[in-house]
Amino acid sequence: MVTLKIDGIQVEVPKDYTILQAAEKAGVHIPVLCHDARLNPFGACRVCLIEAVGNPRLMTACTTPVAPDMDILTNTEKLQRIRKTVIELLLVNHPLECPVCDKGGECTLQDLTYEVGLTKVRFEATPADTPVDHTNPFIERDIDRCVLCGRCVRICDEVVNIQAISFINRGMETMIGTAFDQPWNCEFCGQCISVCPVGSLNNRVYLFKNRPWNLEKTDSICGLCGCGCYIELETEGNELYRMGEVPDKGANHGNLCAKGRFGFEFVNSVKRETSAKIKAAGEAADADFEQAVVTVAEKVKSIKAQHGADSVAVLVSPRLTNEEAFLANKLAKDVIGTAGMYAVEPHSSFPDATYADIETSDAVAVLNLDVTEANPILGLAVRAAARKNEAALYVFYPSETALKRLVTKQFTGNPDEVYASMTRLVEGQGEEASVLEVLKKAEKPVAVYNPYNQADLWFVSELKKQIPGLKVAAARAKANSQGVLDMGALDAAKLKEGIQNKTIKALICLGENPSVRTGWADLSLDSLELLAVTDPFMSETAKKATVYIPVATYAEKDGSFTNLEGRVQSVNKALCKGLKTDAEVIAALAEKLGKALPSCSCEIRELIRKEVSLYKDVDFDGGLVKYADAVTGEFAKPAKAAAGEGKYFLYPSSLRLHSGSYTRWSPDLAKVYGEAKLEISPADAEELGLEDGSSVSVSAAGITKTFKVHVEKHMTKGCVALPEDYADTAEIFGKGRYHKVSLGKKG
């Protein structure tokens, strides 16, 4: 520890602190422009200059480490004068288009100009008038407004590790750009926008739609994937305008991905249903909420009377909050009288490693998962381990992934080869034996895996047995995948069986869309006497519903989600679209069935504390649930991954900018990736005479479907991939995750 004085205030800080960090601790404000706590110190803008008594040179607070007995002055007359000049010089080339700039009101440069009291710029420069770049679908770039703080370049490199942009040229001609002035092409995470202190990089989804001072901010948790990112929902009235990042709260350190940042538009979608629908004689007709609930209740009663309680089943979506899932379980168990609710989520995996465990790990194995695509923020933790902690990183996946630049070694090949490779890893044979050694010797080894591949659990449980210190992270797909299990969801395999052999006559499907879920699409729901579906949209399953009730999305309700780390975080209502929440639907239905259930989330939370032992003492604002085992059950050593006779291996790729079926209703994401495309290697494409955009028929498991082709150079020869959770691909993946398929050129 080091003791020093800042503006006369004595502070004691660790010796690796910078003066800026020490000042924060002392409660002294030092203005900054190019600094961001997530990034390495840079010292480009010179706004944070300070004086150290006895040292004639001025120093940048953000880059200078503390030393014992320093006496720092942060606001002398000299410093005020210099800071004013620094800002004045920045404003010479920065066009003062503030009235038409989208950053107005939340611009760091604007705020600093005000703070230093600058009213006039004494110098003039010819405006560059460079055209605004609209080539990126999400990021508008006006390089004239850039002040070259480098935050975008650094976050793209240090945090995201994509290196999609760089400082181009030198001196006066420096600008932020790409190699050979290509269009910006990246993961579209928008991290660069979030750190831009001026209006140089703008969010096109939000551009010119509102002004920041009109927006009301509600802290919440992103409702898309299982990462559980802390966000701010920025609303005016009942319209959601923007996702805000909160760097000092939550496990994601303010980092967001493309879907989290730009995929919220489905909340405002005009395609959302507003009225309940009841199907009579094959025709769905509008009905009011009361009518719909009564219809469901009556049907449930009559089916129950005729076939017994077990003929009625409740299926919940992993997007419901813990409170709603708890209530759904009560509905299933206490009101209807069945064994409990079901969820289409794997039941053998539990949270183990936290993001912090992964970030500080020294050896990470990624097993059969494209982690940066599937769960981008979990991917950032893996990247941080490799990049900041220089961890050994091993990736087992059919194609090359975005982690390629950071890997110690990647094991690619067709799915059978990947399984063989992971088998050798577990058995300590061949080249993979050395990987096992590294993991065994590591202080904090971590494995990240895909719990949706049941066969992969054998590898995980075997590794766990061999490496006692190994922490594992299951890449759960949906916002509350873990939470619905904690609230008591049963394995939906039994439900599927029940529907197939027609013992289940009524299905109350809360938010779930089984018609596009992997492994479920081949299940016919026609035999059901009652299919009641709640969903914000007319989903593929909702179209088949006897009764459909439109419900609120995560932005419109209170509750909590449990993320893939096992972290419980509160979701807060930011707006109201006049629709009921699933909790209200359940409570109304319970009432009609003769039992009162609470629908207010605080009351339900109290019940959860009483009845769910895992959640007895947990803090609903970021507390971690403690699970006994990371993996439970006995697993068989998987044989070959793929079934079928075709020439090519087909595997499910991650969702390519989407998170399940909701984000497909977000127009901007859909513009970039709107339909399922078949990814194929350039070599295979050439062999078949295919190019980007041409059509190809894919035959697998007796089904033939036509897709557009996307030639992807990272694909392994002999392998093709399709995204999951699309109506078009659901049928194929309904029969299993890996297939050997034949391809044929169309047209």
Binding site: P131, Q163, A164, F167, I168, N169, T178, F180
Partner: protein, 174 residues
């Protein structure tokens, strides 16, 4: 607001030699695992291929596990790297004070008249590249030019024209 920027991607047919990565990969392999190898690799690759074009930079990036954008940042920072084709002969016309007074501007004009290239440009046949430089430190020979490593001094425009023609016809190679 300015208008939407049209993206014109430079479509340039590359020759099979330009897309033969044997040399590039061999150079990168020499530096495998070494830290701080970017600049020496770029220098050697530029020597081998003449200049650093898009596909080449991407290939180097794949080998070094650095994005082409980051590499391009390095390339454009240093004057020693070229992203445009270079001629067989690089004509450096001294535009220092002494040479300027002695009429070196006229020599640049001669180059333009003969080959149609201005400062920084290369003729379509890739014979000559013109570079106007600040001072090559031979003011006694003003006006002075360098063609690759060879210095020619005390020139008149007409003498320079003859020299360029000799280079163009291959006479100077002998």
């Amino acid at each position: 607001m300015a208008e939407v920027k049209a993206v014109v991607e430079e479509v340039q047919e590359r020759t099979p030699e330009e897309l033969d990565w044997t040399k590039c990969d061999a150079i990168c392999a020499q530096y495998a695992g070494a830290k701080g190898a970017t600049i020496p690799v770029l220098q050697k690759v530029q020597d081998a291929y003449g200049y650093l074009y898009k596909e080449l930079v991407e290939r180097v990036g794949e080998n070094l596990n650095i994005s082409s954008h980051t590499l391009y940042g390095v390339i454009t920072f240093y004057a020693q790297f070229y992203t445009k084709p270079r001629g067989k002969y690089v004509i450096r016309v001294c535009r220092g004070t002494a040479c300027h007074v002695k009429g070196s501007g006229r020599i640049s004009e001669v180059v333009f008249e003969e080959f149609g290239i201005r400062n920084g440009e290369t003729d379509p046949d890739k014979i000559f590249t013109l570079e106007e430089v600040s001072c090559i430190g031979a003011c006694g020979m003003a006006p002075v030019i360098m063609v690759n490593d060879k210095t020619h001094g005390n020139l008149t425009p007409e003498e320079s024209r003859k020299i360029f023609k000799d280079y163009a016809s291959g006479k100077m190679d002998e």
